[in-house]
């Protein structure tokens, strides 16, 4: 049996690598396709990715909702779920960090990253392909979560365009955070460590914010931290866009300009961490 040539045959001209942005876009798409296929083969990942925020919605709104006073409204399940959902959405998108970090750590240990690094492909594509696939997964989870929220009483009051803008801000934040996950995945030694390392710091980040309780109820010294938290800006912007802001917007600069601050934070995080992660990938000894 013999192999018939296609191209790049022995002694023949090798395939010429694409260059620059076109190469990165093409290779990222190939890797993203691969990761999306994996997600359809391991649906558990998406299912568990959904269960956590759904559980939070139910626990927070039914168990704690009646006890938490939202400025401008009486404590009740109904008012709290309107307040809560922007926070839950934002927390959900940041949990994409764990997916990216575990996925990349797994590729490192299985030798796949070595395979990719030995190919004439873009040095950014393995990470971009991963973060793009995670973005698709996050969008899917957001849609399902929104439907669940509608079932338990969440409502939007400002129309479809504002809602889409809010989801845009959320996905941008999630995409920026998945680059943090990429860096973690390249830095730890095992997929198990990557999962914990990807999640653990998200709890203080998401709780010291306006996501679950009004910042005005926190100690004075903590309030500026919570207001300047990148996470709070996105939550505040979404809350306003959904029409879920019951009282006045807190009198703090990042809250008054929440959409702008949210976009700037996301872009800064994305720029810094994508640069760090790609640099790490180039040097990864595996």
């Amino acid at each position: 049996m013999t192999l018939s040539d296609t191209r790049g045959a022995i002694g023949g001209a090798p395939v010429t690598p694409r260059r620059g942005v076109a190469a990165t876009a093409h290779d990222s798409w190939v890797v993203a396709k691969r990761n999306l296929r994996r997600m359809t083969r391991i649906p558990e990942i998406v299912v568990f990715g959904l269960m956590q925020p759904v559980m939070f919605v139910l626990l927070f709104s039914y168990v704690m909702g009646g006890a938490i006073a939202i400025p401008g409204a009486q404590p009740s399940h109904q008012t709290y779920i309107e307040y809560l959902m922007a926070g839950i959405f934002a927390q959900t998108v940041t949990f994409a960090v764990a997916g990216a970090s575990a996925g990349i750590a797994e590729d490192m240990t299985k030798g796949l990253v070595d395979r990719f690094r030995s190919l004439p492909m873009s040095r950014a594509a393995v990470l971009t392909g991963r973060t793009l696939a995670d973005l698709v997964q996050t969008a899917f989870i957001l849609v399902v979560l929104a439907l669940v929220a509608l079932l338990v009483g969440w409502r939007i009051h400002n129309g479809v365009l504002d809602m889409l803008a809010a989801f845009g801000l959320l996905l941008l934040l999630g995409y920026a955070f998945s680059w943090i996950g990429a860096l973690i995945g390249l830095s730890v030694r095992s997929p198990e460590a990557a999962t914990s390392a990807g999640l653990i710091w998200l709890f203080p980040l998401t709780f010291v914010s306006n996501a679950f309780v009004p910042v005005s109820s926190m100690p004075d010294w903590l309030q500026p931290v919570a207001y300047w938290n990148p996470f709070s800006a996105t939550v505040q912007a979404c809350r306003s866009l959904f029409g879920n802001q019951l009282g006045p917007v807190p009198d703090s600069w990042p809250m008054q300009h929440a959409a702008l601050v949210s976009v700037v934070w996301s872009l800064v995080i994305m720029a810094v961490f994508s640069w760090l992660a790609v640099r790490k990938y180039r040097r990864a000894a595996g």
Binding site: M1, T2, L3, S4, D5, T6, R7, G8, A9, I10, G11, P14, V15, T16, P17, R18, A23, H26, D27, V30, V31, K33, R34, R37, R38, R41, I42, K110, G111, L112, D114, R115, F116, R117, S118, L119, P120, M121, A125, R283, A285, G286
Partner: protein
């Protein structure tokens, strides 16, 4: 003949460990160099440097004439790499795996698909091509991994312990594939722990230990270097040993050695089968009863032992190959018996 792979004085340290301590080698186009050495000798590190996965601290290397350090991406389009552990995505099917690699080698989607089907057929994976690689046996995964390294028909290939952990049948099947590639002109750098594998596949062997190439030559040259052929006789009874030694002395090219317990006499000779026939006749004339007699040539095992002072599996203190060593031990026994 031009060198398809050339390395000069490669040095790489990991902390206190000098993984590569000045490795130099060259592989002429169209030939196979077997890199032989114990665990931690620097075989895998050498391959990782030559395949652009690892930057050496110093030294230079070219593959197909292209500088590995200056133009890594050009090198990548000229090489195929198949590692110790099968680097395939187990949640993708065999076909999807190969297609993805083709597209990442910058083939068009159509060409990548066509090439994937060809390779799957050649590697006897057509029937399993739409199953995820997770369901594949070890041998099938290894074949898929090797197929992935062949997607662009690279002129230079690196196989890092390609048959480690495979059963004898799969190992021989993979050897046949590798031999076909070499017949078609591929230059190959092969690392292995199986001396038998190096003996069969490699034109040239470089023995590596402690990050250095300590010997280089064809298998025959290496064997000759450590000594020639010898006759080994096992006599029926211990009392026959002195007479047998006397009978064999005229043919000896050196001092005979005697192992009393096993009644085994070893006599260095030259002249091959002729001398053996003469020796048998002489013993027969003197009516010395023998249990066994044969002409032995040194094996690569002997070469290895005499060069490194330890067997292939020994001294795995800096085990770059991870936990594979234990599994390998058992396997190698099997391979040698086969």
């Amino acid at each position: 003949m031009a060198a398809a792979i050339e390395a000069e004085n490669l040095v790489k340290t990991f902390g206190d460990v000098r993984a590569l301590d000045g490795v130099s080698l060259d592989v002429p186009e169209g030939t196979v160099l077997g890199l032989l050495g114990p665990n931690g000798a620097g075989k895998t590190t050498t391959v990782r440097v030559l395949t652009t996965l690892l930057q050496p601290d110093s030294g230079r290397a070219t593959v197909a004439g292209v500088d590995v350090l200056k133009h890594p991406n050009e090198v990548r389009s000229l090489i195929g790499l198949s590692g110790q552990y099968a680097a395939v995505d187990e949640y993708l099917t065999g076909r999807e795996n190969l297609q993805m690699v083709g597209e990442l080698y910058q083939m068009s989607a159509r060409d990548a698909k066509k090439r994937a089907l060809e390779l799957l057929e050649w590697f006897n994976l057509s029937e399993a091509m739409d199953r995820t690689a997770k369901t594949y046996s070890g041998g099938m995964r290894r074949r898929l991994d090797l197929a992935a390294a062949l997607v662009v028909r690279p002129p230079v290939m690196f196989l890092d312990e390609p048959t480690t952990g495979l059963d004898p049948r799969n190992r021989i099947a993979l050897w046949e594939v590798i031999e076909t590639l070499v017949e078609q002109g591929t230059t190959l750098l092969l690392t292995t722990q199986y001396l038998e594998e190096a003996d069969r596949l490699a034109h040239d062997i470089a023995v590596v230990d402690h990050g250095k190439v300590i010997a280089r030559g064809t298998a025959d040259e290496l064997k000759r270097q450590i000594g020639g052929e010898r006759i080994e006789v096992v006599v029926r009874a211990a009392g026959l040993v002195p007479e047998a030694v006397a009978a064999l002395t005229p043919y000896a090219k050196g001092d005979p050695t005697v192992e009393k317990n096993t009644r085994r006499i070893t006599v260095p000779v030259s002249g091959g089968a002729r001398v053996l026939a003469d020796a048998i006749r002489e013993l027969d004339t003197r009516s010395i009863e023998i249990d066994d007699i044969g002409l032995r040539r040194p094996t690569l095992d002997d070469v290895f032992l005499s060069l490194t002072g330890h067997a292939t599996e020994g001294g795995a203190d800096e085990d770059e190959d991870g936990g594979a060593a234990t599994a390998r031990k058992g396997r190698r026994g099997q391979g040698k018996d086969a």
